[in-house]
């Protein structure tokens, strides 16, 4: 065989970089860095105001002399519309309720806008609306305004729902993405990745069947109970798209702290772990729709954890790490085998690995 390496150095090549700054690609909706870049460059830069710039799941607003409100909005697209454990209606209510609740507010009212595709069966719509009623009832919120638009067949995937939520913020509540402090405990309310894998599995694309159900749930009652026992919950987030890794990276950057996770303490269901191993996914990046990550002062962490565990949506709550001064703005994982690795944010779309 001739020596091919001599040929190879001359053949050294590299493609032109791709920025995807000209057109929207699916990665812009992943919840990861590509989306953040789009938000910063396209939206925040134009709409500049202190509430938006804060970069939280919801904004705190107030009119002079009146109570402070939290407002949050979220558009929901999912395929299939119905999946084990939930449906698009449940997501639309719980997602927004949770975004308001993690700011420390009591969610009160929702609005809902529908984009319907021509040809959608009305009975399908009715099932979705009934599901929204049930979740709103459970969360103790009322849906007080709505809008409906219909687009031609082929221009939407069944139906899309956008919801906006309003909640009342108690006095002296300062839960915020920049409040994490070195020494705080990091708590998670349960297992990671259930929703993402349940939806993938429901698409029938995996060639494997799981009994996993989505974790979609309203968390406001559990959050209210947690806040009743501790005035020192510093940050809360619901780690949806982008997963726990992305939420914690956001917090580490906002609070200018490091977050150190213990790999062995992070709760993951065996079915999620197995599916992730097979497909080349990491559960830290998979979406959840009924999970809460809370950063709490160390001396109150145990009591808050017990409250979470006493609640039906927090039975598997666990302490998974702590806030440190280093590595500032980043998340570090102590692995099971005693080494360390960085846990970065999700980049663009999460892609299954080839082999």
């Amino acid at each position: 065989m001739r020596n091919p390496t001599k040929v190879s150095i001359e053949g050294l090549n590299c493609p032109v970089p791709l920025t995807h700054r000209e057109r929207i690609v699916t990665g812009h909706g992943s919840g990861g860095k590509m989306m953040q870049e789009l938000i910063a460059k396209t939206f925040t830069s134009q709409w500049q105001n202190p509430m938006l710039n804060a970069g939280n799941d919801g904004s705190v607003i107030s009119a002079r002399g009146y109570a402070r409100l939290v407002v949050s909005t979220d558009a929901h697209v999912v395929s299939p519309l119905f999946f084990p454990g939930g449906d698009i209606g449940a997501l639309a209510v719980c997602g927004t309720v949770n975004d308001v609740a993690v700011m420390g507010a009591k969610p009160l009212y929702l609005t809902a806008s529908f984009i319907l595709e021509e040809g959608l069966e009305i009975s399908t719509l009715e099932r979705v609306v009934e599901s929204m009623r049930a979740k709103a009832e459970e969360a103790g919120v009322q849906i007080v305004a709505g809008d409906t638009k219909v687009v031609e067949k082929g221009l939407a995937d069944g139906l899309y729902i956008s919801t906006t939520g309003i909640g009342l913020l108690a006095d002296r509540c300062h839960i915020n993405g920049w409040e994490a402090k070195p020494g705080d405990a990091v708590l998670i309310s349960g297992t990671l990745g259930d929703h993402g894998i349940a939806v993938l599995s429901a698409r029938g694309a995996l060639g494997l069947e799981t009994e996993l159900a989505s974790d979609v749930a309203p968390l406001n009652e559990m959050i209210a109970d947690m806040m009743a026992v501790s005035k020192n919950i510093h940050v809360m987030r619901d780690p949806t798209r982008g997963g726990l890794a992305t939420s914690l990276n956001e917090i580490a950057k906002q609070s200018k702290v490091g977050i150190v996770l213990e790999e062995g303490s992070i709760p993951i269901k065996p079915a999620v772990e197995s599916a992730s191993e097979l497909l080349g996914f990491d559960p830290l990046y998979i979406a959840n729709e009924g999970k809460l990550v809370a950063i709490v002062a160390e001396d109150e962490a145990e009591e808050v954890l017990q409250v979470m565990r006493s609640h039906k949506y927090g039975k598997e709550a666990a302490r998974i790490g702590r806030v440190a001064t280093e590595p500032q703005g980043r998340v570090l994982m102590k692995t099971l085998i005693g080494s360390h690795r960085m846990v970065d944010m999700l980049m663009g779309e999460m892609l299954p690995r080839i082999c």
Partner: protein, 370 residues
């Protein structure tokens, strides 16, 4: 998780590292061939645990990284055709061709779909007889049986609307290329366990003999990797040459015979270009003449596409184990997984991506990237 958790046991890991420490008396350079292993090494921080005498260099075993620009450009051309459903393994979508990637093609109206198995692409062809379904058949020996099976099944089903864009590569010719290189530093190989699960390791003893280089067939969990390192180090310290199987729970000498037979039925050896390395003689697989009608390059006349790559990044040297990712001036600053300059940054199996995602030092230097 059974059969996985046991191989991540912290105590056994510590014991194995201790054994390696006891055996090693001088510096050794080992190459792990497979990108999946590079990923596992960084994910579990294996290199952090090893004694400083042992240097792991990362081989060209990421199928996404070594797929040449030319084949990507052909894929982009095929995916842009109006009547084509272009199917691919997920991580190929992000690999840039000349100015575009498959995401861009999809954003401008191309029908690009991720499949988890090439047999899903065959099903898609059977379901859509009015469309042409093309599958991007890339990979090493690991994906070859399934990719070969897709063509075999399409033939059995008499499908006329299914074809594959072939970009298959093999490990042994790459080992020859690396070991015969002027700048070769590799003293021992961790042979890729998944490749050997399919092919066995009967191809390797002559290579080990020819270049006096020991090889240890190695798996992917922390204990598997450390066991592979320990096996290779023992051979090096004793001056032994040959191939040892450190992944016996998955690999036999003969490998998976029915899979090999299927590969030989559908594919034959041919020259292949490797991105960043260039042409390696007889290093890939093409379709046999009797299956040539399933060759997308012939069916759609994209064989004439020739793409020139411009030398910006050092992906080639990284793929040959001559340099580490953080020796690249662009690493973590100009070149990130969202904006890759080179294929090594694109795939989760790519060396640069593994470094970027998991390694503390290089990330700290590249953290200013917004």
């Amino acid at each position: 998780m059974k059969y996985v958790t046991e191989f991540r046991d912290a105590d056994l890991v510590r014991q194995t590292v201790e054994k390696i420490r006891k055996e090693v008396t001088q510096p050794w350079v080992l190459m792990e061939i497979c990108g999946g292993q590079t990923h596992a090494i960084k994910r579990y921080g294996i290199d952090e645990l090893l004694p400083k005498e042992i240097e792991l260099v990362h081989g060209p075993g990421c199928p996404v990284c070594v797929t040449p620009l030319e084949q990507i450009d052909k894929a982009l051309a095929l995916a842009s055709m109006p009547n084509v459903i272009f199917t691919s393994y997920g991580d190929m979508l992000r690999v840039p061709g000349s100015g575009r990637d498959l995401f861009s093609v999809r954003a401008t109206g191309g029908d690009v779909r991720v499949v988890y198995s090439p047999l899903d692409a065959v099903k898609l062809a059977a379901k859509n007889p009015e469309k042409e379904v093309v599958f991007f058949a890339i990979g090493f020996e690991t994906t070859a049986p399934a990719n070969a099976m897709s063509v075999y099944q399409a033939a059995q089903l008499g499908l006329r609307n299914f074809s594959v864009l072939m970009s298959h590569v093999r490990v042994p010719p790459a080992m020859h290329a690396i070991l015969s290189g002027e700048h070769n530093r590799v003293q021992g190989f961790l042979a890729a366990g998944h490749v050997c699960a399919v092919m066995g390791y009967w191809e390797y003893p002559p290579i080990a003999e020819q270049y006096r280089t020991p090889m240890a067939v190695t798996g992917f969990e922390p204990l598997d990797l450390l066991h592979g390192v320990l096996t290779a180090v023992r051979m090096l310290e004793k001056g032994e040459v040959g191939v040892a199987n450190a992944y016996a729970r998955a690999v036999t000498y003969e490998g998976n015979q029915p899979a090999q037979k299927l590969i030989q039925t559908v594919f034959m050896d041919c020259d292949r270009k490797w991105r960043g390395i260039g042409n390696i003689p007889m290093s890939g697989w093409c379709l046999r003449p009797e299956y040539a009608k399933f060759d997308a390059e012939q069916r759609f006349e994209v064989a004439s596409i020739h793409s020139e790559e411009s030398p910006i990044c050092i992906a080639g040297e990284i793929l040959q184990g001559l340099k580490k990712p953080h020796q690249c001036p662009a690493f973590g600053t100009l070149c990130t997984p969202e904006h890759p300059l080179g294929a090594t940054m694109v795939s989760t199996e790519g060396t640069c991506a593994a470094y970027y995602q998991y390694d503390q030092q290089p990330i700290a230097s590249g953290a200013s990237h917004a």
